[in-house]
Symmetry: C2
Subunit: 223 residues, 2 copies
């Protein structure tokens, strides 16, 4: 099936009911379905990939430094919208963020020009842009505060719990290097801290991954 479902757009955009029929069609005609496999890059840097609306799956939005270091800013789950991948809508959206698929993902890509036209005609579409950008801003500020000011043991404990919740289990299959990239840290630092968590009996680290043994202890540490 290649026709976008208007109900998904209606869910995503609070101003949908105000749009004229022809403007609804303008958005629908400029919406494409894309699928990505786990690990695929969805958006990179200053490209104008479009507005992304996640149907199902999981995307990771992250900063990538010139030296190749990474830190995860936020995840996009079902029904989440990504505007940072549509730099051509706003002239100030120039920050080169990266978006990768963390799980197999199906999403709508909405052409920025079409959205821009709508936001020129409907005040609510502009306000919605501002709301969405500022939500992401708040999430990124939280990450910044964490990464600058919170001790690494607390951050790692919180990350392990968050990751287990996303995977709906108590086992994390990321490598130490991948965890370091999420947290803007180095592999050795992650390995050392996991070893300490293991000594305390909170996790069990093996080649296959990390088993959470005492999530309540991690919870306590993370607060």
């Amino acid at each position: 099936m290649t026709t976008p479902d208007p109900r998904r757009l209606a869910e995503a955009f609070p101003f949908w009911p105000q749009l004229s029929d022809s403007d609804k069609h303008l958005l629908l005609d400029n919406t494409q379905i894309h699928t990505y496999r786990q690990g695929d890059n969805v958006h990179s840097g200053r490209a104008c990939t479009g507005i992304l609306l996640v149907l199902h799956g999981q995307l990771r939005v992250f900063l990538l430094s010139d030296e190749g270091r990474e830190i995860t800013l936020y995840r996009l789950l079902d029904r989440d919208i990504c505007l940072q991948s549509a730099s051509c809508i706003l002239k100030s959206l120039t920050y080169p963020l990266q978006v990768d698929a963390e799980k197999d993902t199906e999403l709508y890509r909405i052409a920025p020009e079409a959205y821009k036209e709508i936001s020129n005609r409907y005040a609510q579409a502009g306000t919605f842009l501002a709301e969405t950008v500022s939500t992401r801003f708040a999430e990124a500020m939280w990450v910044m505060e964490q990464s600058l000011f919170v001790k690494f043991d607390r951050r790692l404990a919180a990350f392990l719990l968050e990751q287990a919740a996303l995977d709906e289990g108590d086992r994390i299959t990321l490598t130490h290097d991948q965890i370091a990239r999420h947290l803007g840290s180095a592999r050795e630092v992650v390995s050392r801290m996991l070893k300490y968590f293991q000594t305390e009996g909170w996790v069990s680290v093996s080649r296959g991954g990390i088993q959470l043994l005492a999530p309540e202890k991690l919870q306590e540490l993370s607060q």
Copy 2:
């Protein structure tokens, strides 16, 4: 003089010419002039202080952690606009940023409710909100990348040059502790690095402040 100057609003808001006369008056009637002395707090946390338009002076927008640690996100100079201090315009502007006056500052404070009314009627006012939030987002991301991934000697060199440029001189009168707060670091780290800069002959550190002796060397280091 207590009446706001419509020309300042016209400069600040690109959609001003589109506003009806009564909407221009709505904004003007809801604009107040405020003055702050160097060091005053202008906005704190989740208060809805209003949209700030700097007439002249200098504001510092910074993150303050629960533990009292700080990092400067950006400065607002003449004609700059601050929306982060108007959390009630956007329901998602919930991130508790702090704004202090770094120099004696005169500014307009525009009541959020008035701007909100305008943005409900004029699509350009909503887009302008989105543009402004996303400009600040980009600036904050740059600071985050710097603070996580760039070596401290480079960051300190860049900060000294930026600060000298803001003060239009080659002398910085901030304390080591104040510099540490700008950079999200600790006083000892700043003092140690400045001592090293002094050994190299790039700066001269005294009780009264820091004199830049070789800005070209700092420039080189910062790149």
